[in-house]
Symmetry: none
Subunit: 176 residues, 4 copies
DNA sequence: CATGAATGAGTATTCATTCAT
DNA sequence: AATGAATGAATACTCATTCAT
């Protein structure tokens, strides 16, 4: 694995596990086994590293979510599969909530660069729901599902339990 | 206003506006106009200040929410009033999401003291919904409403807009 | 026990156990169960408390040492009894070296007030040895014994063992 | 002189002159003319700086002591030369006792890392005496001489005078 | 392209002491 | 005589970033 990739992977892991502010540059370079100046060569600032982390994981998440729902046929099945995808994600022992929402709580709200990136990713989820619901002409439900999606993510972290995902799924079944 | 109150008010304002980690003790004492050692006389550590902030604002929020819904009669009206309360809260120019969920994203997951406080507050909301729904024997809906409640809070912050609260309200109307 | 005495006893215990610099005024007042201003009423500064501690324990030590050697008749017996007294003192589980020599290592050498107090106490020991040796006209040995006395104290602390006191006693037997 | 050396030299000088606890990191960096973070790059904590100081000065002291006694032939001459070495050391205007014994009085007794380092250095002196005395089969005297060695160091500091070293030397002459 | 020593501004916390009540 | 809140200066330590090699 090359230097840049090693830095990014390490940063991604640590940012998610410990939070962005709590992860120091020194820990990243130590665990990635690179020199300090190498990191700054590839990422001019810690924020650039954050932005790249958000972009990459955002794309990866959407990609695997799309791959997962592709296995299902009807819109309702696809929608429910989205929440099963979530359940699988939450069951990981290293589950620590949504990387985007976590970062949102850590960066100052003046930071439009990062905040718009977060919005962009969330809008992708909204669009994905709309896409799924289009065949049955229920696009108007997409934002309601998106709310339940984020709710499931955030509250399962707070309560350290799976019940919120089951609750969200129950509501979804009623709605669609 | 006495010293302790001035410290707590200032800390509450800054923790909410900038986040807990991004707010230094130095800024708190400067804006509260107290000496550093005075702060530590009242709050042995920054974490104690955080805990007091969460406890106080949690109690205040629940109190004013209860006062707000008391004006309504039927369970459905009460439930919808909860989301109107939220809308009013979100409309503040200084709105910055839910203080509890923000802190949850900032403190390490080892910090059981703080995390249990957050869970406790959220369980208060769940219990409040159950209480409202009891007369019409729909307590089973309480967690679904709670999810929409937190969803409205978190996503309206991310998108810096009121639409999530309207969306959540729409779902609630369907459910109850 | 009255306030002043309670303060002094607590300070004495803590200064000896933890060192002078490592013992804060706050710990003293807390463990002595007195108000901060009460301490400053009785002892205008921490240094005054130190001086009183040294004076009192110095007097007490000399008194009990004199009481111990009074039981013995011949000069040689008395001298050896001095080292047995030391052994008993060192055997205490709370043994932490010589309170005077410990303080000597902690206060800056500009502090003549404290340093002269330490010298004064040590000169008392030298004089006591001379007194013991006078009947057999061996006063000239007094400083040699005093050196072995302090050596036994300091090295038994460093090595956390009793062998230095036995070694010192062996030398003393040869000398007298 | 490079940074690390400048830090260590300054710390050594200040630790010896003022004591370990009374010397702040800020004073060290100011007098060494380095940035705070530079110090922490080289020495992860103040205690690491202390340990390095003790190790280096311990080695240097033993080396120059060995060099000094190498000039003498008979065991008795060598032993007496040890105390002359001490006299030379004590005559320095900046004499402030034994750096090891000073530190021993300052660090809490839980600090085994530092305390074992001190014991190790002192055991080196004991071994050196045994080594000198071996040719005349008087190794059994080594601990007695070691006690007088430490006694000379400590009491000459307390009394700010050379007489203790002469007294110790006198006893040594009788013993060997 | 990679290195790691150096930096200045920051962090939370503790100190002995004072002062109004 | 006793109280305890308030203080300013100090403590050890960490941060993201720069720069000469």
């Amino acid at each position: 694995m090359d230097t840049r990739e090693r830095i990014l992977d390490t940063a991604a892991r640590l940012f998610y596990a410990q939070g962005y502010n709590s992860t120091g540059i020194n820990q990243v370079i130590k665990e990635a086994n690179v020199a300090k100046a190498s990191l700054y060569q590839h990422f001019p600032s810690k924020e650039d590293l954050l932005i790249e982390y958000l972009t990459v994981t955002g794309n990866e998440t959407e990609k695997s979510l799309r791959a997962h729902i592709a296995k299902y046929k009807t819109p309702k099945e696809k929608v429910l599969a989205t929440f099963d995808f979530l359940a699988k994600f939450i069951k990981q022992t290293e589950f620590n909530g949504c990387n985007f929402l976590n970062v949102a709580a850590e960066v100052p709200h003046e930071n439009e660069k990062v905040r718009s990136l977060i919005r962009k990713q969330k809008n992708g989820i909204r669009a994905l729901f709309a896409e799924m619901l289009k065949p049955i002409h229920k696009e108007s439900l997409s934002d309601e599902l998106y709310l339940l999606f984020d709710a499931a993510l955030i509250t399962s972290r707070v309560h350290r339990d799976l019940w919120p995902i089951r609750t969200a799924r129950k509501t979804v079944e009623k709605l669609v």
